[in-house]
Subunit: 405 residues, 2 copies
């Protein structure tokens, strides 16, 4: 049995402290450096962008994690992505890690680095170097929000969640924070996510972590682009004194469900906060041949400009959903397909349902909601999956077009 | 040596006649039925949408062409796509073909059918049946524009081109017309293209035709969606009295180049006419590992909302181009990559070039043009390819969001 913690975040699990400061990297004067620290070296799972163009901190972290699967801290800056900065950029990322290790008296390769912001600019290392001791000094246990705010770029809202699981062996906690898509020229949407837990996790839990990423951070789409800096790091420090292996099977299932909840809640926050987004739509594919195909089709529809514009226009445009599904490359048979907006069935066996006045009114009530679900039932298998997308609004174009160099 | 024909189109090659009329399918009262006829049965090459959801006329034509690779005429209607209409829709498509065959006294399966417009509505067969005899009666040799206009939906401009090739054996002509993306709810972008030539082509020229499609109609993107009705049909009636095999190798090369010109000109017209488009951008990928990878990367960048919004904003945003290329799944090495807007180099070896005042002014002059080229040089191979895209403007969102049911 688990419960959501009000105002919870990365510091909710035992043994995690954090801090956030204004180091002057952002012209706005908002907080732009953050530090997350575990009292004990924590088992570390990390997944990085698949973009062929990888930022320096991504390259550094991947190398660091090849040696050990543990980390004690993560140093983060916003305002500069340290991407397309060549060898100097890599040296700067490494220096951020080393300075943090020294300030925290940690062993080499025990600190990871994340950056987000403008690309193609060298890091203002003077500001970074001045910031690190301040971050270390300010570390405290109630800093979930401080940390969560300092990692944001043009995000409008804090994205922080935590869940507590009561087990036979005692209480286990999962916390998390993330930042989503912000576009300040010449910046790109970057997703940084940090998950913490005081449960001790075995190395092979990584497969579970990856599966959760597929259904959370990889199941959302604002505009289909993948950035140079995308990173998701999970730290499990075991300071609850409880091991995953020692939980009963049902408790293990609850922990996994709670982890999914935290990661999906963070992921949905990113979509809600997408540029110009006015709606959050869950695209649900049911009775598909496989979970992978269902997820791929859901994500494909979630990137269709036609479908996203119709969502903005509050138009229950089944034609665009069906056509996008058909062009996703995933298996489907039009004549077997049913489609629902909320609970209203608009397509049956690939043919439009003739709606009466009452049903038509219900349909329009659905698409006028800020959040609703579109369900496409393929009737060719047993698998299902969901993706989460936002609408495509004037606001999106404005934010992404207006800034001119 | 070939020359572009002013006001040329599908009727420019010998032995082709056409017509277009208002049958009352469109509420607007614009022309909505068209007929293209060859005096002699013509070798027919056809490529259809890969969408899993295929409109009735697409299913009918595919079946018809399985029996023979010849066709004598194509009957087209705009205003109703005859998609998601089930068995009745298929019977209606077949009836359109049969009635046209009877009216033209042609053998069965010698007429193809194309439809574009609203989906999910049964065809108004009374209007279709009344229209066919009128189309037959009005067939004439100077009807390229009439035909070209009658196939349009919300396209703003006629898309018609023709080229004449002088050979040792005599004159050979290629003509073409197409319609592009129009979105009237619940319609989707549908591409219909018709190519005619009076050169006799061998059956194995199909491979050449497919390759041309890849570099023309499949190299453009307005919003990345594929419709239920997309069709490209080429008719070669041999009425110039000249066979492809009888041309010299250089003349064969000229014919292929002329065909590419006609098809690319039509394809670019579609992009120029994309919803809300204010710019036509050629995305050129050079020194890639293969033509396929280069084309795939170019098309991928062409569907990036971030890149397309930046184009609308006249912002030379190299970060979005590079990041999109990196997330295309195609092979590249950031550190080897150079990027140009027009002739201005903005990236060298994956690092931003420091531009002086004069270069910066030149860069902004490039992105302010209505049409320009962005060239990404990967420096990992010898292959290259281009894709053509338009910008993502307020107009696009307006057109696709405003209509609400």
């Amino acid at each position: 049995m688990y419960t959501v913690l009000e105002k919870g975040g990365v510091c909710s699990p035992k043994g995690f402290t954090a801090s956030g400061i204004c180091a002057g990297i952002k012209a706005s004067g908002n907080a732009d450096m953050a530090l997350l620290k575990s009292e004990k070296a924590a088992r570390c799972f990390a997944v990085f962008t698949t973009n062929k163009v990888k930022a320096a901190p991504v390259l550094y972290d991947k190398a660091a994690l090849e040696h050990a699967h543990f980390a004690s801290a993560v140093i983060v800056n916003s305002g500069n992505a340290n991407a397309c900065t060549g060898e100097k950029g890599y040296a700067d990322a490494e220096r951020m890690a080393v300075l943090t290790e020294e300030a925290l008296k940690l062993t080499p390769k025990s600190v990871l680095v994340c950056s987000t912001g403008v690309i193609g600019h060298l890091m203002p290392m003077d500001k970074i170097e001045a910031g690190i001791p301040k971050l270390v000094e300010k570390l405290h246990e109630d800093a979930s929000e401080e940390f969560g705010r300092a990692i944001l770029t043009t995000d409008l809202a804090l994205k922080s969640h935590a869940v507590e699981i009561k087990t036979e062996k005692g209480v286990v906690t999962i916390g998390g924070a993330c930042k989503g898509s912000g576009m300040i020229h010449p910046n790109m949407a970057t997703m940084l996510a940090f998950i913490t837990t005081d449960l001790a996790l075995p190395i092979d839990f990584f497969a579970e972590f990856r599966a959760n990423i597929a259904d959370s951070f990889n199941a959302i789409t604002v505009d289909g682009d993948t950035s140079t800096n995308d990173t998701c790091i999970m730290l499990a420090n075991g300071m609850s004194g409880i091991k995953y292996e020692d939980l009963s099977l049902s408790e293990q299932g609850e922990f996994r469900a709670a982890l999914t909840l935290v990661m999906q809640s963070l992921a949905k926050d990113i979509v809600r906060d997408g540029e110009g987004a006015t709606k959050l739509i869950e695209l649900r594919i049911e009775k598909a041949e496989s979970h992978e195909e269902a997820l791929r089709m859901a994500r494909f529809i979630g990137t269709s400009n036609l479908a996203k514009c119709a969502m903005f226009g509050e138009d229950p445009n089944w034609g665009r959903i069906l056509s996008s599904a058909g062009s996703s490359g995933c298996n489907m048979v039009a004549e077997h397909t049913d489609l629902y907006f909320g609970e209203v069935k608009v397509l049956e066996g690939g043919r439009p349902v003739q709606l009466d006045e009452k049903q038509t009114a219900a349909l329009h009530a659905v698409v006028r909601q800020r959040e609703y679900k579109v369900t496409l039932v393929l009737n060719i298998g047993q698998a299902s999956a969901s993706a989460f997308t936002c609408d495509l609004s004037y606001g999106y174009v404005k934010i992404n077009a207006e800034y001119t160099t």
